[in-house]
């Protein structure tokens, strides 16, 4: 049996050490495994930096654990393109994250996997579900389209914004506002929050039959967290969601093939010294990708 298979077997029997090693193996393996759990429950959480995603997840985790759930959080943080290192600090803000046996938090640097992290997140979620984690949260910081979109692959998507209305423009650009099932304006204890919520509502009202709620919460004070949890529980998956998921899966698998292409570094080098054009690089990649490159 492969190391991944062995670890999964130990992890499903309740060995937390093996579960943790399994997640690492999935992140680092050259070919992510195809796990499948029928009972998987996932929530994507995304939003601009500093909107309070981690703090809010901590509060939700506490709520779920109190209701008898086991909560796993995969927190994605960007890797520095300069040093290749990362400072993964999301878990500090998850006040509920050290609730003991029933909460599992893994920080993931987005840049350490061959072919990008995105095709590996879903095998990780399925593995966690197979191991009995009933609430699985994927948190991404919304600093660019791809980061927003990893979260959008979850069964349901929570978009968190701060009271500063300008923040959510990025989410709108990435098309995430349309995809969010639940929208929370955090920091309701600060001035400006209701105004921000109102302007998001106005923007949603522009499209027909949009019944999605925009909830005000304060992750700091805990206000509105229960209401948010029940909105997440009862939200109906977005009608365009399946097409979106398939589309994103295709794009991320494609990216993965591209990024793990044996010639990519060589082509980038040639592009840098102008010895080839972008078109020629793409042509060359196409040819070799056909041959299984």
């Amino acid at each position: 049996m492969s190391i991944i298979g062995e670890l999964l077997e130990l992890a499903t029997s309740g060995d937390r050490r093996s579960l943790s090693r399994l997640i690492t193996e999935i992140a680092e393996s050259s070919e992510p495994p195809k796990f499948h759990s029928d009972t998987i429950w996932t929530l994507g959480v995304t939003g601009p930096p500093g909107s309070g995603k981690s703090t809010l997840i901590g509060k939700l985790a506490k709520h779920w654990v109190d209701s008898g759930d086991r909560v796993a959080v995969l927190a994605l943080d960007p890797t520095s393109p300069i040093s290749g290192g990362s400072f993964l600090a999301d878990r500090i803000r998850m006040e509920g994250s050290d609730l003991g046996e029933n909460v599992f938090v893994r920080s993931i640097a987005s840049g350490n996997s061959p072919g990008g992290i995105s095709p590996r997140i879903w095998p990780m979620c399925h593995a966690l579900s197979l191991c009995g984690w009933s609430r699985i949260v994927v948190e991404t910081v919304g600093t660019g389209q791809s980061e927003f979109r990893i979260a959008a692959l979850a069964d349901r998507l929570l978009l968190v914004d701060g009271p500063d209305r300008g923040d959510i423009i990025q989410a709108e650009k990435a098309g995430i506002l349309e995809l969010a099932d639940v929208i929370a304006v955090n920091k309701s204890d600060l001035p400006g929050a209701s105004l921000a919520a109102q302007s998001i509502r106005t923007s949603l009202d522009l499209s027909n039959d949009d019944s999605r709620e925009v909830l005000l919460v304060s992750a700091l004070e805990g206000d509105g967290v229960e209401k948010l949890a029940s909105a997440i529980e009862s939200c109906k998956p977005h009608s365009g969601r399946n097409e979106m998921i398939m589309r994103e899966m295709l794009i991320s698998e494609w990216d993965s093939i591209l990024l793990s292409h044996p010639e990519i570094d060589e082509l980038i080098r040639k592009l840098c010294d102008s010895s080839i054009t972008i078109d020629e690089a793409i042509e060359s990649l196409r040819k070799t990708a056909h041959n299984g490159g």
């Binding site: 040093s83 990362s86 993964l88 878990r91 500090i92 803000r93 938090v105 893994r106 920080s107």
Partner: protein
């Protein structure tokens, strides 16, 4: 490497921990910072869940002699004997031996250049590759200082 930087016990000062975290990140490591006031058992669970290869413990409160051995014991009991442990902060020389006996492999005091911590990690990786004792559960005898 995946490194957890931890602040155990009642100690609210983490400037040093953050400086180290930043230096390790710039050195190409993935650093997970626990935040303040974690118990030894919380730290052991974080090291497990994050599948860290290295744990750096920062303490300035004077409780290093009781907290750090507890964490090291917890790691060994939790099947995490291969984790490499180092410590930093305000730790008097007379306590170093106790920490080494607990499985700590390096202690960095005030004024240590961050490059030295990175050099320690490089050496630790080399030892690991050669199967020389380096983890908290391995044979004692080697330490950086």
């Amino acid at each position: 490497m995946r490194v957890v930087i931890a602040k155990p016990g009642l100690d609210g000062h983490d400037r040093g921990a953050k400086v180290i975290a930043r230096a390790l990140r710039d050195g190409g490591h993935d650093v997970i910072y626990t935040g303040l006031r974690k118990t030894p058992s919380e730290i052991v669970m974080i090291v497990n869940d994050e599948d860290a290869e290295v744990l750096g413990i920062s303490t300035l409160s004077g409780a290093h002699d009781s907290l750090i051995p507890k964490i090291c014991d917890g790691l060994r009991e939790g099947g995490l004997g291969d984790v490499i442990v180092f410590a930093g902060g305000i730790i008097p020389d007379r306590d170093l031996e106790l920490l080494y006996k607990s499985g700590v492999r390096a202690v960095f005091g005030p004024g240590t250049p961050t490059s030295e911590v990175l050099a320690f990690l490089d050496e630790a990786v080399e030892r690991k590759l050669k199967n020389d004792p380096i983890g908290v559960g391995d044979d004692l005898g080697w330490n950086w200082n």
